[in-house]
């Protein structure tokens, strides 16, 4: 009945006392903005990670072997893993050892201290022309079976090394790795920002050469690919069975699929977001108390108005709904401001993070979710109504005679 008038009155009193309105709404504004920023960041982070994982392929299976140690003869060799792929072609489509070699990279008098060196097999480079890490070749070729088989000293380098060591002309040149000369047979496309220590500062070797460089007998890390995303968990079971057969205990190895990792990351992120949102929600609570406080003052200030309205026939519920609507409107406006502020801040943060991480425009984007916005708005209105109820009830119960006499 008098919703529109109550609504207009609320807007009017907000406009006439702007400073007071702002202070009343501040708690709600901050709370809602914080919730929006946090959910945007979380959402953006999730999207970003999912994209990273997707790039790697959802059917990637990582195997880490810790081994029994102490000279135990229970061990698996790359051949055992290759045999597994041959035995179960319907589940496993490829495998490669992934050997991290701690060696120095030099070219002439230049030393590249932060360059990562990985030994891989030919399956690391799949039929789609991509490595399992999602990189593509710019020039040359990748590591081949023959290189692995014959311990060839060949390597594929990232765009950073190509630029810094060879002036973008590395193909066919020689690089010293761990004191041995390696011929550059391929150059990768830029995938990061070509900075030192970035994803572009790396070298791929045949894993046999890498094992020799690091004086290791067997690889402790393997990358399998399952035939599809759906067969990933079955494939994981096959690999685990094989490893258990050798080690007789699941303590000595770890097998994880990309999908699992993705889920693990997601749930971790969700927990983190939940905690942060809860903290932000405290601000909403404080905001609600702020609204209640101002509404109580407003009821006292407008005692006479309440008396007039009652003398003209307003019932308790008319007065109550007027003040509840007013409180709800105040917090809804505060909530809307908070939403806008939150979205702006999320955008600013997106740009800041893009600069800090150097990921460019298609990197991390903090996107506010529609759900998040709807919930934030709903909660802010609910808080207004909830905390407005007590003062409204006080107003509704005023005695009209006393209220009319109040100055």
């Amino acid at each position: 009945m008098n919703f529109t008038q109550s609504f207009r009155l609320a807007i009017k009193s907000l406009v006439t006392s702007k400073m007071r309105a702002l202070l009343t709404m501040l708690g709600i504004i901050i709370g809602v903005a914080a919730v929006i920023i946090i959910t945007s960041l979380g959402n953006g982070m999730q999207n970003y990670m999912n994209r990273q994982f997707e790039q790697l392929g959802a059917n990637l299976i990582q195997v880490q072997i810790f081994g029994r140690g102490g000279g135990s003869s229970r061990s698996v060799e790359p051949e055992d893993m290759y045999a597994l792929v041959e035995k179960y072609p319907q589940y496993l489509s490829g495998v490669t050892p992934y050997v991290s070699a701690p060696a120095k990279v030099r070219h002439g008098s230049d030393e590249f201290k932060r360059t990562s060196i990985y030994g891989v097999g030919e399956s690391f480079f799949n039929s789609k022309g991509q490595t399992m890490n999602g990189e593509t070749l710019a020039q040359g070729r990748f590591v081949k079976y023959i290189d692995v088989e014959r311990y060839q000293n060949v390597c594929v380098i990232g765009s950073y090394l190509n630029r810094e060591a060879f002036g973008n002309n590395g193909l066919g040149q020689t690089l010293s790795i761990g004191g041995a000369p390696f011929t550059v047979v391929g150059v990768l496309e830029e995938s990061g920002d070509s900075a030192e220590g970035s994803a572009d500062d790396k070298v791929y070797l045949p894993y046999t050469s890498a094992l020799r460089l690091s004086n290791m007998a067997d690889a402790s890390f393997y990358l399998f690919t399952s035939t599809s995303r759906e067969t990933a968990s079955a494939a994981k079971g096959i690999v685990e069975n094989r490893l258990f057969q050798t080690f007789q205990s699941s303590d000595y190895y770890m097998v994880m699929t990309s999908a699992e990792m993705m889920d693990a990351m997601d749930s971790m992120l969700n927990t983190l977001m939940m905690i942060l949102t809860l903290i932000a929600a405290i601000s909403l609570l404080v905001g609600g108390i702020g609204i209640m406080n101002i509404m109580l003052v407003s009821v006292t200030e407008r005692t006479r108005e309440i008396g007039i309205r009652k003398s003209l026939g307003a019932k308790g519920k008319d007065i109550r709904s007027q003040f509840v609507i007013e409180a709800g409107t105040t917090s809804a406006i505060g909530g809307s401001i908070g939403i806008v502020l939150g979205i702006i801040m999320a955008n600013v943060l997106t740009n800041v993070i893009a600069v800090v991480l150097g990921t460019g425009n298609d990197g991390f984007v903090a996107v506010p979710t529609l759900d998040g916005i709807a919930v934030a708005f709903g909660v802010s209105v609910a808080i207004g109504v909830l905390f407005g109820y007590l003062p409204a009830n006080k107003a509704a119960r005023l005695n009209p005679i006393d209220a009319l006499r109040y100055d």
Binding site: I308, R309, K310
Partner: protein
């Protein structure tokens, strides 16, 4: 014939600390449709209490009050609000307009609580403003009008709901004598047009404008009759009244 207002043996007793105060001490009064009655009395006489009870803002401690044939003396707050909305139009000394609402919105208020549609509210409120000659001021805020104009707006508001009784509580108290006279002659005009007007005042010179005077003292009716009777304006001298007035001083402020 049924009386419009019928108070029968009405008592209003307040407990003020140790003391019991009889604000109304057995008042029996009837007012008929179309009458113009002034309820007069000095401060502490019980006239404000009488106005509160007649205006359905308060209920008597004992006795009965029928308004338009309905017993309103035992009603709940919300039922009283409905009666006030439908049957009573208030005119206050302080105009009691809501400063944030414009003239039209102020006049619309009783219609709003009566549940009328926006279109009907506006139409009736404008018609009511027309009657007091302020139709062209409907957009203004009360603060942009003179005192006399504000009081006319409050009269328009009282008329908008087409009440059975117009209850004017010291309507000229805050006005200079010229605008006060204007407002009074306006009330007379309403009376001539058939409205029932009850005027509450302490001022004899205003009370005589009504047709009938009811004089209250110490919560009792001491005179009830024609305003042209010289008896009507005689202030009864009672030696005790001064002391009583002091004791009753609290009554006017209310409990």
């Amino acid at each position: 014939m049924e009386h419009l207002i019928e108070l029968k043996d009405v008592y209003k007793i307040y407990q003020m600390g140790e003391e019991t105060v009889h604000a109304l001490d057995g008042v029996t009064l009837t007012i008929d449709q179309g009458e113009f009655v002034a309820i007069v009395g000095s401060s502490g006489s019980g006239k404000s209490t009488a106005m509160n009870i007649i205006g359905c803002l308060d209920v008597p401690t004992s006795g009965s009050y029928h308004l338009g044939g309905i017993d309103v003396s035992t009603m709940e707050d919300d039922q009283q609000a409905e009666i006030r909305n439908k049957m009573l139009g208030f005119i206050f000394q302080q105009y009691n307009l809501i400063p944030k609402l414009n003239v039209l919105e102020n006049v619309e208020l009783p219609l709003l609580y009566a549940g009328l549609s926006a279109g009907e509210r506006k139409e009736r409120a404008l018609r009511s403003l027309e009657r007091v000659g302020l139709r062209d001021k409907w957009r203004n805020l009360p603060s942009q009008l003179s005192g006399g104009q504000q009081q006319r707006v409050s009269i328009a508001r009282a008329l908008a709901g087409e009440p059975s009784v117009i209850l004017a509580d010291e309507p000229t108290g805050a006005l200079d004598s010229r605008t006060g006279r204007e407002v009074l002659s306006f009330l007379k005009k309403l009376h001539r047009e058939g409205d029932t007007v009850v005027l509450i005042t302490h001022d004899n010179s205003i009370a005589v404008k009504a047709d009938r005077i009811v004089r209250l003292q110490d919560g009792r009716i001491v005179y009830d009759g024609d305003s042209s009777d010289p008896q009507a304006v005689v202030q009864p001298h009672d030696d005790e009244s001064e002391i009583e007035d002091d004791t009753f001083g609290g009554e006017a402020v209310g409990v």
